[in-house]
């Protein structure tokens, strides 16, 4: 029987090597392309008819647009509107990555920490650059709470700095851990179904329940990833 972590193995589909660096087109890259293509089709096809009373697809496309737009309006404010394209792209990319991974025989690219970390690090870098661009050196006030005695600065500033630097890690690890753990649990329980023969009906029923839960987690984690990006953006723009 296959190991439960074999599903995360990266396999090169088109091997490419330039200057000793392996930049092969892998199964991970393939499913990223697939998800971007699906997102494009979903959105452009969905709003093509531009009906006053939306059909199913248009309704879904509008729903996802409004969901992210409301999230930005509530958590960043009016200034956040110009960052909508990025936040929306981030949300759709993570959401589709999580959901495509729920289809058997596919690859979940969000289950690799380097992918989620790259996403989180782009958010972190962008937010920091926006913070410095908006507030200049005043942004350093961020690392020292208002009203704290100046004597506590040698301890508080490193703590606040580490707290700030740990953002991309917690953001990346949360998404990666949720997706990886969920997929391993599914595989392990599926292994029990085969091993237990007729009595495997019990884990099979359990497996059905866990699958539903995993769909919920796939959506929830995309939401959490996006809303935390919004909150970080809010901090950088408004300085608390």
């Amino acid at each position: 029987m296959a190991s439960p972590v074999e599903q995360f193995k990266i396999k090169p589909i088109i091997p490419i090597e330039i200057g000793g660096i392996d930049i092969s087109f892998t199964n991970s890259a393939l499913f990223m392309v697939v998800s971007v293509a699906l997102i494009t089709v979903f959105l452009t096809h969905g709003v093509r008819s531009r009906a006053m009373v939306p059909g199913r697809w248009q309704s879904m496309a509008e729903l996802s647009y409004e969901f992210v737009a409301n999230m930005i309006r509530d958590n960043v404010g009016a200034e956040g509107r110009r960052y909508f394209p990025f936040i929306f792209a981030l949300f759709m990319f993570v959401l589709f990555g999580n959901l495509i991974g729920m289809i058997p025989m596919t690859f979940t690219y969000t289950s690799h920490i380097i992918v989620t970390f790259a996403l989180a690090f782009v958010v972190f870098l962008g937010v920091t650059v926006i913070g410095f661009a908006r507030h200049g050196l005043h942004f350093f006030r961020f690392f020292f709470p208002h009203g704290a005695p100046i004597l506590t600065a040698p301890i508080l500033i490193p703590i606040e700095l580490i707290s700030y630097l740990s953002r991309p890690f917690s953001l990346a690890v949360r998404l990666f851990a949720n997706m990886t753990v969920g997929h391993i649990i599914l595989k392990v329980i599926a292994g029990f179904v085969v091993a237990m023969g007729v009595a495997g009906v019990v884990p099979l029923a359990f497996l059905a329940g866990v699958t539903v839960l995993e769909f919920g987690i796939a959506v929830l984690q995309a939401y959490v990833f996006t809303i935390l990006s919004c909150i970080y953006l809010h901090d950088a723009i408004h300085m608390h």
């Binding site: 009373v53 199913r56 490193p158 703590i159 917690s170 949720n178 959490v224 919004c230």
Partner: protein
């Protein structure tokens, strides 16, 4: 979202030609499409009716899943602080050649930062990591939208 189906079934019929959903109405009404205000008020009435039946159960389910998410978040926040502290300390040690010293100092600072992050995410101050506040805002908005008081979900410890 999932619970809207019975309402759709009652007030819309399937348009076989376009595959979409169109509102059903009397034959004479069909000539002029209903105004959006009218549609809006009917939607609101139906949602309020449906919320009466299912609002309580749904609010409880949401509080449960939010609590689970917060728990997982707290655990990761705590670990991330320690890891980053360790990384910074170890890096600085390699730079200055004072191997165990800064690593230990920054491990403790990292633990403090992790606890700070946990405290903030639990309190939801909207400072560094305020998911709690964001969730409260979203709940307030859904409450306003359906003009139906569903405060029971918020009182529970999340």
């Amino acid at each position: 979202m999932l619970h809207r189906k019975p309402y759709l079934a009652r007030a819309f019929r399937r348009d076989g030609r376009k595959g979409g959903l169109v509102p059903t109405m009397a034959e004479d009404e069909r000539k002029s499409p209903p105004s959006l205000d009218d549609l809006e008020s009917r939607l609101r009435a139906a949602r309020a009716r449906e919320d009466d039946e299912k609002g309580t159960a749904r609010a409880r389910g949401r509080a449960n899943s939010a609590g689970m998410g917060l728990g997982f978040r707290v655990a990761i926040e705590l670990v991330a602080g320690v890891m980053v502290g360790f990384g910074i300390g170890y890096g600085l040690d390699l730079l200055f050649g004072t191997l165990p010293l800064l690593m230990v100092v920054f491990l403790f600072l990292g633990a403090a930062a992790g606890v700070l992050n946990v405290y903030r995410s639990a309190k939801g101050m909207g400072e560094a990591v305020g998911l709690g506040e964001a969730q409260r805002r979203m709940q307030e908005r859904t409450k306003d939208g359906s003009d139906q008081s569903r405060g029971d979900g918020r009182g529970e410890p999340g």
